[in-house]
């Protein structure tokens, strides 16, 4: 009963729009694997959408539609992700980066921008939930709004080991990347998991004290901080976020 009420309120606040960015990201990840939450969101969308009648229409600038047509031109109808965005693992912990990079190449070639990437990732989420057996390895993709994925993070829930690999991330002069975690039962505000000292290679971390079930639903963040890490104990620089999706066994 309590849980149902929580789902209901989460859905309501998600649709109302008052969740923080981190909370929104977490809800969007959860709804792909929690049909009850997804259904509650749909109900609230129906409840509240009549309010939109109050919004006055505004004519878009005349050059906007040509820009949209240009964006959808070409071989870019790639919404489904059916052809296998295999952000997978081979040996259980090592993420198959070569495939990821090939896919990145195709994304670039398609050149439809962030919307397509987001749609592909959304497709991956949905497709994976349906066809894949339960996995103990999960991956999170970090991408920065309108750019390609920067980092990949994989988590082995059994060993609670995190592996972070850069995809397109580059070292930034006089800055360091810092990894954060936030999530129900773990920490309501971002908790530092340490620095990613070497952006050209793989970083491994172990989270011995975190319950795997909580870890599964956590949101991870990577922020750009002064050397030595955030002076405040909270992210201070621009941050990327990722939530976990099941990886291939």
């Amino acid at each position: 009963m309590r849980e149902r009420e929580d789902i209901e309120l989460t859905a309501a606040e998600y649709v109302l729009g008052t969740l923080t960015r981190e909370e929104r990201v977490a809800v969007e990840a959860r709804r792909t694997r929690e049909p009850a939450l997804d259904a509650a969101i749909a109900v609230w969308e129906r409840h509240l959408s009549p309010m939109l009648d109050d919004v006055a229409p505004v004519a878009p600038p005349p050059d906007l539609f040509p820009a949209i047509e240009a964006a959808i031109a070409g071989p870019a109808r790639e919404g489904g992700g059916q052809d296998g965005a295999r952000v997978g693992t081979r040996d259980g912990t090592v993420t198959d980066l070569a495939r990821m990079r090939r896919r990145l190449g195709r994304w670039r070639a398609a050149a439809v921008g962030a919307a397509a990437i987001a749609a592909c990732l959304a497709g991956v989420l949905v497709v994976r939930e349906v066809i894949l057996p339960p996995s103990r390895t999960f991956v999170a993709v970090f991408h920065d709004g309108d750019t390609q994925p920067r980092f990949l993070l994989s988590v082995d829930l059994e060993s609670r080991e995190l592996t972070i690999r850069p995809v397109t991330a580059e070292p930034v002069a006089d800055k360091t990347y810092q990894l954060w975690i936030v999530g129900e039962g773990i920490s309501p505000i971002p908790r530092s998991l340490g620095l990613l000292e070497d952006v050209s290679g793989t970083t491994r971390k172990r989270l011995d004290q975190v319950d795997p079930a909580l870890l599964r639903n956590a949101t991870f963040g990577i922020s750009l901080e002064p050397p030595g890490g955030s002076p405040t104990g909270q992210p201070t620089g621009p941050a990327l976020h990722g939530t976990l999706i099941p990886a291939e066994d």
């Binding site: 109302l16 129906r46 229409p57 962030a114």
Partner: protein, 182 residues
């Protein structure tokens, strides 16, 4: 000019099949509404242009996902628009509420033909339920939903701690649900 929700459903269906003319018609019929929804949240035309562009690219790619059993076509499109605008406003800004967004604006008489598609029983009912919320909480809900104000924005506007706003929101949403499903 399009007249009905089913016309838009049919257009979406053709868009799902890759029909560019249908996409152009869909844009013409719906863009002023979506532009209005997004502009109201972002309050900046340059950002709105970008977000509207992303939203229509997404609609083009995902038209096949539209499920008429789940939402009306306008609600489906408006949801994509709102979500994208909210992602943008939550990402980029720290509480930039200025006094020029007046509470009164919540009652905007201008309606599009498209807007009226959704009018009717559902809308009257929601109005009644919003007006039944105590004090200013109807405005609280409208400002959150229509103007995209965060809890912090609302706290600043109503001169209350964020925790209080959260409690108000939760109570208001429960009351709304009970009223709407009564």
């Amino acid at each position: 000019m399009l007249a009905s929700s089913s016309d838009i459903s049919r257009l979406l269906d053709r868009v799902a099949g890759g029909d560019r003319q249908a996409f152009a018609d869909l844009y013409e019929a719906t863009a002023p509404k979506l532009y209005g929804i997004i502009l109201r949240i972002l309050r900046r035309r340059d950002e709105t242009d970008e977000v509207v562009q992303d939203v229509y690219v997404k609609i083009w790619q995902r038209a096949g996902d539209f499920d008429p059993a789940r939402a009306s076509p306008i609600t489906w499109m408006a949801t994509i628009a709102r979500n994208r605008a909210l992602d943008e406003v939550r990402r980029a800004r720290v509480a930039t509420v200025s006094d020029d967004i007046a509470l009164e604006r919540a009652a905007d008489p201008a309606r599009s033909a498209l807007g009226d598609l959704e009018a009717g029983e559902d809308r009257r009912r929601l109005e009644i339920c919003l007006d039944a919320l105590e004090g200013e909480r109807g405005s609280l809900v409208r400002l959150a939903y229509l103007d995209g104000l965060s809890r912090q924005d609302l706290a600043d506007r109503f001169g209350q701690p964020v925790g209080t706003i959260k409690t108000w929101l939760h109570r208001s949403l429960k009351q709304l649900r009970d009223c709407l499903t009564a």
